[in-house]
Amino acid sequence: MEHLEHLADLLPTYYARLFPFPDYYRWLSYGNANTFSHREFSFTLEDDIYLRFQSFKGLKELELEIKRLLPFKIDIGAVYNVNPKDYHKGANFIPVERELVFDIDMTDYDDVRTCCSSTDICSKCWKFMALACKILDSALRCKRGIHCWVCDSSARTLTTTERGAVAEYLQIIEGGQYMKKKVNLPGDKIHHSIKRALEMIEAVFVPFCVEEQDILGTDERMENFLQIISDDDDRQELRALFGQYNSSKDRWNIFVKYIQNKKTTGDKKWYQYRHLIEEIMLQYAYPRLDIAVSKGLNHLLKSPFCVHPKTGKVCIPFTANTVDKFQPDNVPTITTLIEEINEFDLKDKTEQETYDLNAKKIKDYKKTSINKSLRIFQEFLWNLSNERKESRLKQNGKYSATFCA
């Protein structure tokens, strides 16, 4: 992988002045020092040197090691029964706890997005992520792509089977290259959880998917869309109908009308089309989860606040409420952050000289645009510690944070 130029030169400053070690430690210890010391970290160093099963006694050791090794990437694994560094070769080494995590990869949207492909992302495709966030958030009362970490104590102690069940409960889109129709809703009714998701999708489907993504805008896209219809005659008819209209929106409308007409005329095929419109909307807009990551206890997932080695963007937390305003292009990068500190210090210095104020020590991160993200993170930590306080009473609330990579 080609790296950001001078990344190795920037990282010492980043880890020394910006990486929020105390908060990071506060998060991963969950009020218990052992939870932290038994946690696996893995580092990717320069030249793709990969270190697994790192673990640290406490904040200080973590901070020193990171500053010494200057990892290009940090991954967080599970909490084990013993400390991973010394005992991972032992026979009795088992993961006991980890956050319930969801990983959504923008690449998985390649067959339904038309603006970008592969690892690129723009504000248009961010809307897929925004929708995914809201749907996940509503389902869990709880991601180039996003990662979602569900951190309350009941989620952290789920078993593999239970994680699998939750992941599959949320997984609606299934099928590979040779399965054109990827959503199949069984039965006459639509499950409550899917209905809830559909309500969110329906609200934005036409402006977002039909118009902006322009899913019926070109011949190729129309053909992809028509592949979902398994019946040859209907596909032909629809193809002809689409030909009579010019815009994606008109074609979508005529499609909806065509299918609904099947119902009113009592067509024999109605049953197979009973959920078709909903299914297509889900196929184009429902979150595409990488469920292997959610199922295993010991999967590694990239840590928040680490720097993307290629783009220099910092992986920062955000909340589902603010996801619409989130601009993937405006994510702070290591370069801009360090510039911001320097600018601030320069200005500060001149001001101090002018007004001769007592030199007040301002935390470095407060001088930069990462400040806002840290506030979100701290609020999340505050909720977590509240949960711990309440946990003796009851623990059903879910706290989650979502991070953008």
Partner: protein, 562 residues
């Protein structure tokens, strides 16, 4: 637990207290049996239980049995035929409260035999999960026979956490309950009882989105209570295993018991993979993919050749398959590298992919010698956009499947429209193994000798037939090294002991005999030569990869796909 006592010989006083011990037809096996038992009875009970579980397994994979009643009926017939009448009886037992002496005797046998198999199956994780899966399956079938009283009694005896919802709650969630429970199972919300249980007790219902879920509480209708019981039952079995292991430890040294226990668990027998015993050169894969690959593998091979990439699950499914057909690790590395480097540079390949290939061969990480995936695993795999793995008959839609069959079949005039229809119809009826067998039939113009339940079995069967047909004269020189050249008589595993062939451990069959083939001197010289090729005679016991899917190394294997 007092297993040790059981082998002392004594005569059991008739039903002394049995009624107190065995209050229910359906047991959770939450306490071990006490008392004494003849060694012969010990052995017999154990063997019969094993046969029972094998019947249960065979029954579960039958896709032609649609309803629960059909499944039960079929199992019952099989059990009765095999002289296991008491299990057939237990299968339909309602939990009658005033058991006869026969009932009690059956319950006792059920109890003891279960615990004996525990001793034998508690050590190795493959064995254990097989054992527990079959026990759970049998439990579910039996549960469905219980009457209302029987269910309630079970609920009370075991204090299973489960609370009936109040009419107020029902009103409050009426819409959600209606939407989220299948109409086939719940006709009318008003007359159905619902129960509140923590979601992790009914993961199967959550997974398939069959119940309403609110704040971590699942609302399950009466008809789905079986899930709750089954998960309790399963947990109980898992929790009992450490105890079972300790009990075996205490018996250590008693040859009579240990040899009996050892004879019971040979899970390798049940893994139906056929390891090809010789090396298959990679330059033959293109051709083999057309002649001898099952459809799923042919598609993977083709996509790899077209896109010069396969995503992780595809690499795993195909990589293990070619390992199974005898591609060496060195060859496999160069094979994958040749393809992948048409798109990425070779350094990137070495860095990101080579590890997982060596890992497949047990040369990295935990050094587990993984076994090629079988059909059940492939059929149940999840396939996402941009992926090509899985079972072609399940994971392809009808149009794509027909198109593919057409493309593969027509140039060679192998598959005519009627054949395509037959295969695609079987796939639509979800008879995936049937569809695969039909595909085999049309490609080879005859049925396979063995049930196709593993891609490597498909391959091996194909090689035997093609070799015997002598259709590949020009290739024989090299290909013969891969085919399982067994003589026609012995090649058919339906006679003799098929299991020995399946194991792929120990000496390959054809080393032990002279191939009898009178189809021209040329081929027999080839045979002679093949016979001389050194064969791998020892092989580590293969592990089923699916049970290791959560290991660290797999986690790494599964790591980001670019």
């Amino acid at each position: 637990m007092e297993y040790t006592k059981k082998r002392r010989l004594t005569i059991k006083p008739k039903n002394n207290g049995l009624e107190d011990i065995y209050q229910h037809d359906l047991q959770m096996y939450d306490f071990p049996p006490r008392g004494e038992l003849l060694l012969t009875e010990f052995e017999q009970l154990a063997k019969e239980r094993l046969r029972l579980l094998q019947h249960v397994e065979n029954n579960a994979v039958r896709t032609d049995l649609k309803t629960l009643e059909e499944r039960k009926q079929n199992l019952s017939t099989a059990l009765t035929k095999d002289g296991l009448k008491y299990y057939a009886h237990l299968l339909y037992a309602k939990s009658c409260n005033s058991p006869t002496e026969t009932d009690l005797e059956y319950r006792r046998k059920d109890h003891i035999s279960h615990f004996i198999l525990r001793l034998s199956y508690c050590f190795e994780s493959d064995n254990l999960s097989w054992f527990i899966n079959q026990e759970v399956e049998f439990f579910k079938l039996r549960f469905s026979s219980l009457d209302k009283e029987g269910v309630e009694k079970l609920l009370n005896t075991h204090k299973i956490e489960c609370q009936q919802i109040t009419p107020e709650e029902k009103d409050k969630f009426r819409e959600e309950l209606h939407l989220s429970t299948s109409s086939a199972r719940v006709k009318n919300i008003d007359v159905t009882e619902f129960y509140k249980v923590p979601f992790h007790k009914v993961t199967d219902l959550i997974r398939s989105r069959r119940v309403y879920l609110n704040q971590g509480i699942a609302f399950i209708p009466q008809a789905d209570l079986v899930s709750l019981f089954a998960s309790y039952f399963k947990k109980n079995l898992y929790d009992g295993m450490p105890e079972a292991r300790m009990s075996v430890g205490r018996m250590y040294g008693d040859e009579r018991i240990t040899s009996c226990l050892k004879s019971l668990n040979n899970v390798a027998d049940r893994i139906s993979v056929v390891w090809t015993t010789d090396t298959t050169p990679v330059d033959k894969l293109d051709e083999l993919s057309k002649t001898s690959y099952p459809l799923c593998m042919r598609i993977l091979h083709e996509s790899l050749k077209t896109h010069h990439h396969l995503k992780n699950s595809g690499r795993m499914q195909y990589g293990l398959f070619i390992k199974g057909i005898g591609v060496t690790m060195t060859d496999a590395l160069s094979f994958w590298k040749t393809e992948f480097t048409k798109k990425i540079d070779s350094a990137k390949f070495d860095k990101e992919y080579a590890y997982s290939i060596r890992h497949t061969y047990g040369k990295e990480g935990k050094q587990t010698n993984y076994t090629p995936l079988g059909c059940p695993k492939i059929i149940s795999s999840s396939v996402s956009a941009g992926e090509y793995h899985g079972c072609a008959f399940k994971h392809m839609d009808q149009n794509s499947l027909r198109q593919k069959l057409f493309n593969y079949g027509v140039p060679a005039a192998i598959l005519y429209i009627s054949a395509i229809n037959e295969i695609a119809d079987l796939a639509r009826e979800q008879n995936y193994l049937g569809a695969c067998t039909a595909y085999f039939k049309f490609i080879h113009k005859r049925m396979p000798d063995k049930l196709i339940s593993h891609p490597n079995v498909y391959f091996a069967e194909s090689r035997v037939i093609l070799a015997n047909n002598g259709t590949e004269l020009e290739n024989k020189d090299r290909l013969s090294q891969s085919g399982r050249f067994t003589s026609p008589g012995l090649a058919s595993p339906s006679i003799g002991t098929p299991r020995n062939i399946d194991k792929g451990i120990g000496t390959p069959l054809r080393n032990t005999m002279t191939p009898k083939r009178d189809r021209g001197s040329m081929s027999s010289t080839k045979m002679g030569r093949t016979n001389m090729t050194p064969v791998r005679t020892t092989r580590a016991t293969p592990k089923r990869i699916e049970t290791h899917l959560n290991d660290d190394d797999i986690a790494q294997l599964m790591s980001e796909d670019i």
